[in-house]
């Protein structure tokens, strides 16, 4: 028997208070909560614990009361204080605000202003909040349309005159989004900060509150304009880093300080306790209400990233030609290399790789080289392999991250004619390419 049938048979439903007698004479009382296992009935006992009893072990079951399902509290009206600046918070995912219903153990995501202000009371003292729920999705499922929707929402609130915009976002592809928005939003007059949580916000240890608070502080008091990421700078709850939109990457699957700048430094650090802002760079755009925001939100979908490895075959490259791709970022080895030479009999299968790349370029696909080392600059003149690849039509991506090159290429192809796109790929437009690589920019996670 499965749980559904069992409940029906005994006229019970989820949320009911039930008393069970098991086949070995134990009596158990508790609230029926959802079971992942269809052969087990899960109860939330009075002592708070969940307990699973096999359906085949239950000899008697009867309802003894209605469960107290508290669910969500009523939404309170928030008062806007005209003396305070307003910040817009857009939610796309990676819930920065959630609550627990201890009766059932369920965790609810919260998006409205009232919830946010209740959960982060320190914010209500500093700002008014407008909150908009764009989506609640895994950030890997994001596609061109979602980036475009985010850009348009930023435009809308920017025109409303908010002091800044915070976007709640899943951390997995947050850096892709920051790059996409940086390119799509030309001349932003206000700061747009992406904020996420590596520890879910239903926990006391969640990093969400600090990341959010530091983002608010930075928006209000830094004079900065443009797109950035605001996440923990170290594992301690000391400072948040404001990270450059096009040169940041998630470098750890779970740490609070997973986001690190690559070939760059953070723009600024915000101290959570003192609220002090320390700028580490001076070359950034300033806030200026006179600036006119221009939104270029098209993205070419047929762009991909291919990571180079040993044991490759030409078909892996001709795949992109067969499928009519308009852009390809090759995440090459070292200074920007791929297999393709045949030094001995055992390397015969490498033959044809560079020819396939050449053919792909000739078909009109713009091919950009980034390095899988992530740190350092692509330099394709140093070794003959690199020279050969350039001759085949591969364009060096300078010191861009592969993910950034991917987003930039898609954006260029979406908004400019092909030749212009080719011209602009190697030019610094939004800080994604730096001319000078400093010694200290090669930092492994703290």
């Amino acid at each position: 028997m499965k749980t559904g049938e069992f409940l029906q048979k005994h006229k019970l439903s989820e949320g009911d208070l039930v008393s069970l007698i098991t086949k070995d004479q134990a009596i158990m009382e508790g609230l029926i909560v959802p079971s992942a296992n269809p052969e087990v009935l899960t109860l939330k006992l009075k002592n708070g614990y969940n307990a699973g009893i096999s359906l085949e072990n239950i000899s008697q079951a009867r309802k003894i009361g209605e469960g107290k399902s508290v669910g969500k509290p009523p939404v309170k009206e928030t008062q806007k204080d005209s003396g305070k600046p307003t910040i817009a918070i857009l939610h796309t995912g990676g819930t920065i605000a959630s609550r627990v219903d201890y009766n059932t153990g369920a965790v609810y995501a919260s998006f409205n202003e009232s919830d946010l202000l209740t959960m982060f009371p320190e914010l209500s003292q500093k700002v008014n909040i407008i909150s908009e729920h764009l989506s609640n999705m895994w950030s890997d499922d994001i596609r061109s349309g979602h980036y475009s929707r985010m850009a348009k929402a930023v435009e809308k609130y920017s025109q409303k005159g908010v002091a800044g915009i915070i976007i709640g976002h899943g951390t997995d592809t947050m850096a892709y989004t920051s790059a996409a928005l940086a390119f799509m939003l030309e001349n932003p007059p206000i700061p747009v900060l992406l904020v996420g949580a590596q520890r879910s916000s239903d926990r006391g240890s969640s990093d969400a509150a600090m990341n959010l608070d530091c983002a608010v502080e930075f928006i209000l008091n830094s004079g900065f304009a443009g797109v950035g990421i605001c996440m923990h700078y170290s594992t301690a709850d000391g400072k948040c880093a404001i990270l450059p939109a096009c040169k940041t990457r998630k470098m750890h699957s779970s740490r609070r300080d997973a986001f690190k700048p690559v070939n760059d430094s953070p723009i600024a650090l915000v101290d959570y306790s003192t609220k002090k802002i320390e700028f580490l760079k001076q070359d950034f755009e300033r806030k200026d209400s006179g600036k006119k925001l221009v939104v270029k939100d098209k993205l070419e979908e047929k762009v991909a990233i291919l990571k180079i490895h040993t044991n490759m075959i030409p078909e892996q490259f001709s795949f992109f030609e067969k499928n009519k791709y308009k852009g390809l970022v090759i995440e090459g080895t070292g200074l920007g290399h791929t297999p393709g030479f045949v030094p001995d009999d055992m390397a015969l299968k490498n033959r044809g790789i560079i020819e396939a790349i050449e053919s792909l370029a000739k078909s009109g696909c713009i091919i950009v080289m980034a390095t899988q080392c992530l740190f350092g600059r692509v330099q394709m003149h140093v070794y003959d392999k690199g020279v050969r690849l350039q001759k085949a039509g591969v364009i060096p991506g300078e010191d861009m991250l592969p993910e950034t090159a991917f987003v930039k290429l898609a954006w260029l192809l979406g908004n400019f004619p092909k030749e212009k796109a080719k011209e602009l790929i190697g030019k610094n437009l939004r800080g994604e390419i730096t001319e000078r690589t400093l010694e200290e920019s090669f930092k492994l996670p703290e």
Partner: protein
């Protein structure tokens, strides 16, 4: 003695790896290798309410500093990585305990998050799982005690120090994650003596698994005590088994006396109102030039408490009075060091005159009393409020609360009884489905009860009663049984495990690094006569410092190649020849001296009995 209702809750650390990561379970007291500072937020419940203590900590802007060592702290303890699968040894151990106690194991075990607000867990919650319900434990010939629940959970970080000024509370992460088995009995204990017996029985149940961590602080006992007419009081931290009986006795006494105090207060026609309208006043002036160091020049506030003369000084437990209970409240709720009351003055440097002056200032009449606190006005206000609340409770009798056990068996107020545990599922971990087959297999591997072990060791393994009794509750018992069953000589194995390892540990061996394989290897070599009783310990000493080199190389290092009988006889013959004069003179009586010389030369290369046998033969030949 009034009727007692008492239950015991025991937490026992396990000697396995940590519960949710693969770090080892041990503590270190030296300077930490790193420290990470964090803030914890009060989490809103579904009703939008916050836990008062957590909210206060958040508002005061307290930080928690977590200290650790690379050896036993990873990203899981730092709350920087999701938990890993539950430690299988710990799970097996708790299932065995549940089976031994006839406790009904759930078909599906869920790991829950229990909100923790004092910073003792980096994630803001403790991971805990209910494993079984019900069951019983025999505590004597004719009494069994019922068991309510058995749980498996992670231990918390241990408090290190508190920096009040810097608003930092320090914790050590070494203890965080060590597995704890929690066993809660039904409230069926009916006497202080029985409480001790139950504690002993539970301790034995844990120990026979051979996985119970040993040492101070590895087992924590909490008592739930109420007498008829009293209230349920939880007393935490009864670490010393010997003290349990006394703690129960003194709590029964405390509750009894509180009921007497209540009656006396009613007799004096005291009402809640008397305690709501406490007149408070600053009396610092009166102590500006006092001789008492405690009070001189300090900010002091006083309050008159009507009709309580004599009651504040009423003894509730040896060395604790009703005034002590009020003082506890002041400490807990106002952050002050306590209070002083009229029944105990003059004392602490305060003179009779000063006492009279205070009484006058506060308009204290014949049967009234007064209290004094030292501190700022804001805290004094909190103190008087707390006292007022506690006195109102006194009118009702015994308040329900959580208390901390003290060294002499008394207890002091700690905090209110915990409300419904705020728990929700730990969604980062899979639930544990308990298969019938797996339980059947475990049933066959259950450890023997102490009495059964004693019989086995003395009758089958022929251990001496003394040795057997020592082994029965030792953590080596399970390993010993395995080895004995495998055919190793029981007595020498037992001696090695119980005494030999300790001996070489004192001589510098790192015995904690020796695994069961290492020990078995040594016993095997002993069995094969490649090592002697004398050299096997030397071998293990070396092994603890060279964990992976092959046994043969280790033997070489030891320099003991056991002499064959031929080589042995050769050496002994040489000794005999060298001492032929002595032998001619003393004959058989030369044996003792020559034995000494022979063992000096042959130590490690042969065992004493063989040497002695051959020596006697050679002496006999040479005579």
């Amino acid at each position: 003695m009034p009727k007692l209702k008492c239950g015991l809750e025991v937490h026992q650390q396990l000697e396995t790896g940590k519960l949710f990561c693969r770090c080892p379970s041990f503590l270190r007291d030296d300077k930490p290798e790193f420290a990470v500072e964090r803030k914890l937020r009060a989490v809103a419940s579904e009703l939008g309410e916050y836990d008062a203590a957590a909210l206060e900590a958040m508002q005061k802007n307290y930080s928690f500093v977590y200290e650790g060592f690379k050896e036993n702290t990873c990203l899981v303890e730092l709350d920087e990585s999701p938990p890993q699968k539950i430690d299988s040894e710990a799970l097996k151990t708790v299932l065995k305990i549940a089976l031994l106690a006839n406790s009904k194991i759930l078909d599906e075990i869920f790991i829950m998050r229990k909100a923790v607000v004092d910073g003792s867990n980096t994630s803001g919650f403790q991971r805990t799982a209910l494993v079984s319900i019900g069951g019983e434990l025999r505590i004597s010939e004719n009494k069994k005690i019922g068991i309510q629940t058995i749980c498996l959970e992670e231990d918390a970080a241990r408090p290190s120090k508190k920096d009040e000024e810097g608003r930092k509370i320090y914790y050590r992460l070494d203890r965080l994650g060590i597995p704890l088995i929690e066993l809660a009995t039904a409230p069926e204990i009916t006497s202080p003596k029985e409480a001790k017996e139950v504690a002993l029985a539970i301790g034995r149940l844990f120990r026979i698994t051979c996985k119970a961590m040993r040492g101070l602080g590895t087992i924590r006992q909490d008592l739930n005590i109420s007498i008829e007419g009293g209230a349920r009081v939880e007393i935490k931290g009864c670490q010393d088994l010997e003290l349990i009986e006394e703690i129960v006795k003194r709590e029964m006494q405390r509750q009894e006396r509180l009921l007497e105090a209540k009656n006396e207060m009613l007799k004096r026609k005291l009402t809640e109102n008397d305690f709501s309208q406490m007149q408070t006043q600053e009396i610092s002036e009166l102590f500006k030039n006092s001789a008492g160091k405690l009070v001189k020049g300090k900010k002091i506030y006083g309050a008159m408490i009507p009709k309580l003369k004599g009651l504040l000084g009423m003894e509730l437990q040896p060395e604790r009075r009703l005034g002590s209970e009020l003082s506890d409240q002041v400490k807990a709720k106002a952050g002050l060091k306590g209070l002083l009351h009229s029944d105990e003055l003059p004392a602490f440097g305060i003179t009779e005159q000063e006492k009279k002056a205070v009484a006058e200032s506060l308009e204290v009449k014949e049967n009234d009393a007064f209290i004094m606190v030292i501190g700022e006005e804001e805290n004094a206000k909190k103190a008087f409020k707390a006292v007022s609340e506690r006195l109102k409770q006194a009118l009702q009798g015994v308040p329900e609360e959580t208390r901390n056990a003290l060294e002499n068996g008394n207890s002091e107020y700690s905090r209110p009884l915990p409300g419904g545990a705020r728990m929700y599922p730990e969604t980062d971990l899979e639930s544990i489905k308990v298969e019938k087959k797996a339980l059947e297999k475990l049933r066959k591997e259950l450890p023997l009860w102490p009495e059964e072990r004693l019989r086995l060791y003395t009758e089958k393994f022929k251990l001496s009663k003394q040795l057997a009794e020592k082994m029965v509750l030792d953590n080596y018992a399970c390993f010993f049984e395995e080895l004995a069953e495998k055919g190793f000589d029981a007595t020498s194995t037992a001696v090695l495990l119980l005494e030999g390892l300790t001996k070489i540990s004192r001589e510098g061996a790192e015995t904690e690094k020796l695994t069961e394989q290492h020990i078995e290897e040594a016993l095997q070599l002993l069995k094969q006569k490649k090592l002697t009783k004398e050299t096997v310990l030397e071998f293990l000493k070396l092994r603890s410092k060279n964990l992976t080199i092959p046994a043969a190389s280790l033997m070489e290092k030891l320099g003991t190649t056991i002499f064959s009988e031929t080589e042995l006889r050769k050496t002994i013959t040489q000794i005999v020849q060298k001492n032929s004069a002595l032998i001619k003179e003393k004959g058989e009586r030369a044996f003792a001296a020559l034995m000494g010389e022979a063992m000096k030369e042959l130590k490690g290369k042969a065992d004493g009995s063989t040497v002695s046998k051959i020596l006697r033969q050679e002496i006999g030949k040479a005579k």
